[in-house]
Symmetry: C2
Subunit: 99 residues, 2 copies
């Protein structure tokens, strides 16, 4: 009798992985790991990214539960909501590319 795996838990994991699997989004995650919170412009400057594109990525990660934001005057500060995402970044950087 064949044991069939339950794909549901992998869908959840894939959802999170896909959300961060992008160089600019990973840079943002690292930035917010090292800086309790940052404004959109600070992020743009540090990762050298165009405002609108960075904004899209920020909103995307916020929607998916990775980030959170709060307005402080004219600025909007983003910070990590899913803190565990830190480990992920470290973890993938230990992966050796065997090419």
């Amino acid at each position: 009798m064949i044991e069939v795996m339950d794909l549901e838990k992998f869908e959840k994991a894939a959802f999170i992985l896909k959300t961060v699997a992008h160089p600019m989004r990973l840079a943002i995650v690292e930035l917010l790991t090292n800086n309790e919170s940052l404004s959109v412009n600070e992020i743009c400057e540090k990762i050298n990214g165009e405002q609108s594109l960075v904004s899209h990525h920020l909103i995307n990660m916020k929607l998916k539960g990775i980030l959170q934001s709060s307005r402080e005057g004219q600025f909007i500060h983003y910070s990590l909501k899913m803190k565990e995402i830190n480990n992920l970044l470290e973890c993938v950087q230990n992966c050796t590319c065997h090419f």
Copy 2:
């Protein structure tokens, strides 16, 4: 003076993350974490996936250095090449979805 981040390391990390960020591919990775090596058919059965689709995913992950394969008679056995990918899976499963 603004410190600009180096996107290169994030490109590498994103490459690996993207390669596994898919439910079926994650299932395959877990399977091969628990089973030194498996044939394509064994994998198809366990994850309840169509042969051709599973094959595409296997070849994709092999190309990108995550898996390796070897023929044993009429079977082709796949196994993990990038072992560190184990940790990634565990790691992402610790991430809490704050919805």
